[in-house]
Symmetry: C2
Subunit: 205 residues, 2 copies
Amino acid sequence: MTDAAPPVMTRIQQKNRDLILQAALEAFSTNGFRGATIDQIARAAQMSKPNVLYYFGSKDEIHKALLTTLLDMWLAPMQQIDPRGDPLAEILRYVQAKLQMSRDFPRESRLFAYEILQGAPHLTEVLGGGLREIVDRTVEVLEGWMRDGRLASVEPRHLIFSIWAMTQHYADFEIQVRAVLGPGHDPYQEGLVFLDDLYRKLLAP
Amino acid sequence: MTDAAPPVMTRIQQKNRDLILQAALEAFSTNGFRGATIDQIARAAQMSKPNVLYYFGSKDEIHKALLTTLLDMWLAPMQQIDPRGDPLAEILRYVQAKLQMSRDFPRESRLFAYEILQGAPHLTEVLGGGLREIVDRTVEVLEGWMRDGRLASVEPRHLIFSIWAMTQHYADFEIQVRAVLGPGHDPYQEGLVFLDDLYRKLLAP
DNA sequence: CGTGATCCTGACCGTTTGGTCAATATTCTG
DNA sequence: CAGAATATTGACCAAACGGTCAGGATCACG
């Protein structure tokens, strides 16, 4: 009984696949899937176009690999909500973590934004499957807290939407945010203060 | 002294320009600027490609015309906030209006989302100019209300961001919202209930 | 009804783009 | 170090795309 398909990678494969994904993240997140070109990715990864296609069979494959690689990281903060912790503290920590991800990984945020905007052609199974399960689990935790009177009663799924919308807004619409605020502002710092206040008031039991 | 450039349009011009813009809205809002093709727009508008380019000199021009045509409509609800009205009622009315626009004009919402995501190459002057002024005016109204103790004191610009983020989320990420909610839900109806509650709690003086 | 302005299109062009392929270079391993 | 496996690339291709152009159809109007 041997390993069916041992995904053993050579040192070079590991390095180059990583280089390509790095370059692709930059390209896809600034221009969208159709706006990015393999040439552009190859140039950024400092290799020839055929070599890029040697590691990933097609542009689509690069894109799909990127999304699946980054999805776990993107969803991680929500899974770290601790049912045994203090409800408000747990949620505020989640908001902060999500906002920090927008600040530290805006390209990832935009990548997903483009994908969802376009109708999530590469994420349909994830949306209806894994994502929904993760959300459902979190919803159960939230509803438990609400039943116990430790959290104000609000529609939990829309609460989650609101957190996603607000935090990702700072990354996805950063240009607009900065244009409106003008220079000399730290959108994320101010946003955190605002969101902290908002969710405290909304969720206080 | 004659009119410098009387923009008088023939019946046909009016009809065809409108048809093209209609088709372009559909195309740009589903595939983004680079994802949409002139062929596609021409087909949807039921005319030949050269004819599309007879009315609009280039793909870029169509896009720009769309954005400028729709921008006023998009920003209108905020300008209808009445400084003499009841603060909370005015804001809740704005939230409702914005949410209705997401529901009734999701394509417009996505069009702007794509544009901002991409760095707003066609909206830079608007972002730094007109938009900022409109926001500034609204901010003054909000700050006036807060000074008078008729509204809880929160950072007004981030309050506006939150309204934009939340309401547009339902249009721009509709696929994700529906995937998470599952069938048998009215995202906009539920969203309105949630947001009403949220802003009541946040803004009660 | 005629004639000038407006409207419309098939055919075409140059460029870009995703992807292929044969050939060469490099690395790994016995 | 030999030879097999892996890695890399220049040259090339077909399709898609934005845009042009010359010529024909249609319309408005005296």
